[in-house]
């Protein structure tokens, strides 16, 4: 065993796939073992990095402040995040930011089951920072690339050599990965449209 636990990588995922990632698991029985959500394209995620448009902030707390933020990706799908007293930096960012604004969020996936049995997936932010459009654009292309890599790995798998998370996704979900390829295409197309408009406006 390594002396220092290695830091968990921050996965790149569009909101539509993230919100479908309702299955959580641990790799060991240890109470402090990290919790992962299972991405439907066959990868585990203990941390995510996302950049999008903050469209709405609201204090939904009853006794103490508990801030909800909505961050929308280029497909119009929404990441939900919640920050309270244990995430003071992120909470104060949500209190102070004026939507709309581009934000970069590093955070942990969290799931909770609603009264009618649905599982909602949200982000518990470690940090939120205001960024520019160039950073958002880079994130969109990067996230498309990582998503396509996962889809290709998912499609390539068969038989005995199967990756354990791809296999797990096959067992836990009945979600065609084609949906997520379309999300990547959609996000890239909307980025291209924006870039074209900017160029036209400049001429």
């Amino acid at each position: 065993m390594a002396a220092t636990p290695t830091r968990e990588v921050a996965r790149r995922v569009f909101a539509s796939e993230f919100n479908d990632a309702s299955y959580t698991f641990k790799e060991s029985d240890d109470e402090r073992a990290p919790v992962y959500v299972l991405l439907p394209t066959g990868e585990r995620a203990n941390r995510v990095f996302l950049v999008g448009t903050l469209t709405e902030t609201e204090d939904v707390g009853e006794d103490s402040e508990y801030w909800q933020g909505r961050v929308v990706d280029p497909n119009g799908d929404t990441f939900f995040m919640y920050a309270g007293q244990y995430q003071p930096d992120a909470a104060s960012m949500l209190r102070e930011l004026e939507p709309p604004a581009y934000v970069a969020v590093v955070g942990k996936p969290r799931t909770y089951e609603t009264d009618d049995g649905e599982v909602n997936v949200s982000v518990r932010p470690e940090s939120i920072s205001q960024v520019d459009e160039a950073t958002r654009d880079r994130w969109v292309v990067e996230t498309a690339e990582r998503t396509l890599d996962r889809i290709q790995a998912f499609d390539d798998e068969d038989g005995a050599e199967m990756d354990e998370y791809v296999q797990m996704a096959g067992e836990q979900y009945d979600l065609p990965v084609e949906n997520y390829r379309r999300a990547a295409v959609g996000a890239l197309e909307s980025l291209e449209d924006e870039q074209r408009e900017t160029t036209t406006a400049e001429q």
């Binding site: 921050a10 996965r11 970069a104 940090s127 290709q152 890239l188 197309e189 291209e192």
Partner: protein, 331 residues
């Protein structure tokens, strides 16, 4: 090079727990047995047992255990360490490929730097370099070898590799042959390049204080140096950041100059901010707002698990959505 606080794991102090008990001892034992094959009748098992005693009972690092066992057999055989060879001709290796201690190798390298020898036993000490990287060398006084000149390229045969705290060096000894070569070498700096989003700024970043004692630059914790106790610290700027590309994380240290280039905050400005707020943590908070969530490319050498940023560049140019779109549509 500077010393750092304990948490970075790059201090030069010795740690008792360098080796874990599960070390593979059979391979080094076999290698030692081969070195003495002609002179002594020892079995691999015997050697392995000796190594095991040192490593597991006495918790000695493997490299030390190996040295100790080799010395024992040298005495038994009435041999000098210098007479010991890897058996037959040595391999000519690139400096970047040196990855084990106690190996006999040949290198072609330029003397990049000569340092002041601090002990009488050392005739010369400094840095050798080839296209692949650099490595420290030591030349012993008793080996009676010719003087090396800075900037000159040499063919060095029969040098021995050594290791201390994960850093490799080579030792020149009595059997080493030194031949000046008439060629120029462009010395590589074994730098790595990493790209990704800056996803975290770790504690110990921003405006920090270092121990002012000579040759000690440890970062103070609550005004205390681990080595020298309570001292009047000297201010410095740095960022211990994490770059993440979605597949790998890399920890990067930005020194004062790199931190200023990254954040636009100079040491003087940092001190002023801290003075105004009566709190040094405002500096790191301000830095977080300026750099977290942005993409960077960093180039620099590695030290332990860190990359030391020599050059850093914000990635905020246009991105190629078109090429990715073609790929997305094709699968």
């Amino acid at each position: 090079m500077y010393r750092d606080d304990q948490s970075t794991g790059v201090s030069h102090r010795k740690h008792a727990e360098t080796e874990t008990p599960m070390t593979d001892l059979h391979t080094p034992a076999t290698e030692i047995q081969e070195q003495f094959d002609d002179q002594l009748d020892v079995t691999v098992d015997e050697i392995e047992e000796r190594l095991e005693t040192l490593v597991e009972e006495y918790k000695v690092p493997l490299s030390e255990a190996r040295r100790s066992v080799v010395n024992t057999y040298l005495d038994d055989a009435g041999m000098d360490r210098d007479q010991l060879s890897g058996g037959g001709g040595n391999e000519h290796v690139d400096i970047a490929d040196v990855d084990a201690p106690e190996e006999w190798i040949d290198v072609t390298a330029k003397v990049v730097e000569l340092w002041d020898a601090t002990a009488d036993a050392v005739a010369q000490v400094g840095l050798l370099g080839d296209e692949t990287g650099t490595i420290k060398f030591t030349k012993w006084s008793k080996s009676d070898l010719p003087e090396l000149e800075e900037g000159q390229v040499y063919e060095l045969r029969n040098v021995v590799t050594d290791e201390y705290q994960g850093r490799f060096s080579v030792k020149l000894n009595r059997t080493t042959t030194i031949e000046a070569v008439d060629e120029e070498i462009e010395v590589g700096d074994d730098a790595v390049e990493v790209e990704g989003a800056l996803v975290d700024i770790q504690s110990g970043s921003g405006l920090i204080k270092r121990c002012p004692e000579e040759d000690c630059t440890r970062v103070l914790q609550n005004g205390r140096c681990n080595e020298h106790g309570e001292v009047e610290g000297e201010f410095d700027l740095r960022i211990k950041g994490v770059l993440d590309d979605g597949e790998e994380v890399t920890e990067v240290i930005f020194d004062e100059e790199a931190t200023e280039a990254l954040t636009g905050i100079s040491l003087a400005e940092g001190k002023e901010m801290a003075m105004d707020a009566l709190d040094t943590t405002v500096v790191a908070d301000e830095m977080r707002q300026k750099v977290l969530g942005r993409y960077y490319r960093v180039t620099g050498p590695t030290l332990g698990r860190y990359v030391l940023a020599n050059e850093q560049e914000r990635l905020d140019g246009p991105v190629d959505a078109e090429a990715m779109l073609i790929k997305a549509r094709s699968i």
